[in-house]
Symmetry: C2
Subunit: 395 residues, 2 copies
């Protein structure tokens, strides 16, 4: 029998050094985190590398679902593979970590389409998702085994292919005695519920509603794009919450829907925010009051989700995402969730900006060990599955 | 340390039962072969399953590189994954092979774009290729580990991503004492040179020129599409080869180019064949004479490649591809390569129609064992690499 070098060896290592690559829907660049992970996590390095402008532009064009030639997608897949490989090599050089010391690379890929509702194929409804950034290029340039493309396996198992980060939250933050929530506040806000001594089946994860999306949009409006967001929550701090507008916002039907649930720009994007701003301005609210009110809306809708949809209230809430830097928002959350403690992932040695890249690095480690790493209660998958595709590194 | 079930186990099995899925550029369906492979090959089952008409149509649209929405490609990737999974399950049922007895599935995928010449990305020229047919869907529906997407790794290693079948030819047909050629005659004709006791570095593989492409096109023209090809070479058998036209055709510059080289529709497709037909008809050649002459062109160009570009003449030529069924063509080849023996892959227990699906099944077995399975001298890759992506099956 001919013999090669098997990737089986990696699956037996107690500790893995993993570089995680993540690029989000903003399509502005790629995050890279390098971690050592066994039973504990050590984050060794993190940085973000912006995409070349031509790449950002090409991706944005795909986002709009404009018609494109398949030749362009074919090319862009390899281009982004090169960009990802470069990012890993750059971070290694910068942080003086030898690429040889890395065991595994994880690449989420750049999502160019995600269709969790599904489209018809004959009599069946097929969900689908598409990430690009050719992992074979990453494997070749770095010489390392790569795990990539995590979402399709969950979709094939009947899930929505998202959210996948809760599995990493479960490994990183679940506690024997404390009920915890990991609360991410990105454009949309989402939580991972980790009751004390949680098993994987106890984990809940869903979108709670808007995160920074409305605040950002209105901050851009009232500062005429001088600010892209309400830095440190300073505008909100100067304003006064309009209770009647807040109560009206809290009637939004998304907040009443039972989890698992997810939302996005369709519900809380530009159209919603413009309407809201115009109504509020007509009613005589000052710009700062509007920002204060929508900030309160984000805080209230988060806490409402805890009260409505979780079996218990948390002992600790661990914040991450851009919203964790909005001091006014955090203050509101603290007041409303008392006596629970509000912490940051940073308090656990996890840079909030790096958290997603770290999470996918952790997912890749599980994949290489053959451990199922989706959370069916979060994604809707019928069963646990091992996510991702494994690309063998250099022999 | 958390433990899962590793795919490492498969890499240690001396014998693997593998289902190979292959769909070619005709986009009319998917070939499935089931083999047992250790040091010897046993083909257990083979069949072809046509694509649903909507799928064929969608792929043809992509082939023409018309503009499409990325949402359509995203959906089609999952659709074809379902079609592939179905095909494996159907062949298992039909041939009474339990799906449980299968160790591994190999999926070439449906190529929707292949750009071996490359496109610019900044200062570098990037080759690329794109196959669809989501392998996670195949893994999920069958419960089996899948190896898929063989071409990108070779491209990442600096190759053209093709041809990949010569590696399987090398394993299946190389002989201690005989110099052999595996001659495939599809639309284009290509060979794999296997000198006696060949090592992998001795293998040569390249396109020799036209296969059936010109014959088919002109057969369709003169029968007004009643025949899609010259069945058994019957038309050619009735005609007379026009030596002066043949000599002119033999001046084609592709035949003089040094290997590795590849050609396609751009050089020998409809445009070329139409021009050739018109010239010949004007010169007074009868339809059967034209067919006879282009059949002789295919034969002569194949033999010319042996004489010009191989270090030795073969002891045996092993034919496969549709052209192996063209009796007139085979007769011409036999006359010109005497005293070498002309055989069919069928003489080795390998159904010519199944050969590609079998070849990719063999490639997947090598991948799971971590054995590099491209042939750099054939693809132009800088080094040997392990091709493909591994998708873990059900736990």
């Amino acid at each position: 029998m001919r013999k090669g070098i098997s990737i089986g060896k990696l699956s037996k290592q107690a500790s893995l050094r993993i570089a995680g690559l993540m690029s989000g829907t903003s399509a502005d660049g790629v995050d890279v985190a390098i971690i050592d992970f066994s039973n504990t996590l050590k984050v060794l390095a993190f940085d973000t590398y912006p995409y070349p402008p031509s790449v950002s532009k090409a991706i944005s064009k795909l986002f709009s679902n404009e018609k494109t030639q398949v030749s362009d997608i074919c090319h862009l897949n390899f281009v982004i593979g090169e960009v990802f490989a470069d990012a890993v090599l750059k971070l290694c050089r910068k942080s003086r970590i030898s690429i040889n010391s890395i065991d595994l690379i994880s690449s989420h890929g750049q999502t160019i389409y995600h269709n969790p509702k599904g489209s018809r194929f004959g009599r069946i409804l097929l969900r689908s998702t598409l990430q690009i950034g050719e992992p074979c290029v990453i494997a070749r340039r770095t010489g390392k085994t790569v795990v990539a493309d995590f979402r399709p396996a969950d979709i094939a198992a009947g899930g929505q292919g998202a959210p996948l980060v809760p599995y990493a939250d479960y490994l990183l933050f679940s506690h024997k005695k404390k009920n915890r929530i990991v609360q991410n506040i990105g454009g949309i806000a989402n939580l991972t519920w980790l009751k004390a001594s949680a098993g994987i089946k106890d984990v809940l994860a869903f979108d709670t509603g808007p995160g920074n999306m409305i605040i950002d949009h209105i901050a851009q409006l009232i500062t005429k794009d001088r600010y892209r967001y309400d830095v440190d929550g300073r505008i909100a701090a100067k304003g006064k919450v309009d209770t009647s507008l807040l109560e009206k916002l809290m009637q939004h039907k998304f907040l009443k829907r039972r989890p698992p649930k997810s939302t996005g720009r369709e519900e809380f994007g530009a159209a919603f925010s413009n309407r809201l701003y115009n109504t509020a301005a007509k009613a005589g609210l000052k710009p700062a009051d509007i920002i204060a009110t929508v900030t309160a809306f984000t805080a209230r809708s988060i806490i409402a989700a805890y009260r409505c949809f979780l079996p218990l209230l948390p002992d600790e809430v661990i914040l991450c995402g851009g919203g964790a830097k909005n001091k006014t928002l955090v203050k509101m959350l603290k007041e409303q969730i008392k006596p629970a403690k509000v912490l940051l992932t940073d308090d656990f040695g996890i840079n909030a900006d790096a958290k997603e890249a770290i999470s996918f690095a952790i997912l890749a480690g599980e994949t290489i060990r053959g451990i199922p790493n989706n959370i069916p209660s979060a994604t809707g998958a019928k069963t646990p599955v091992v996510l991702g595709k494994i690309i063998p590194g250099k022999i």
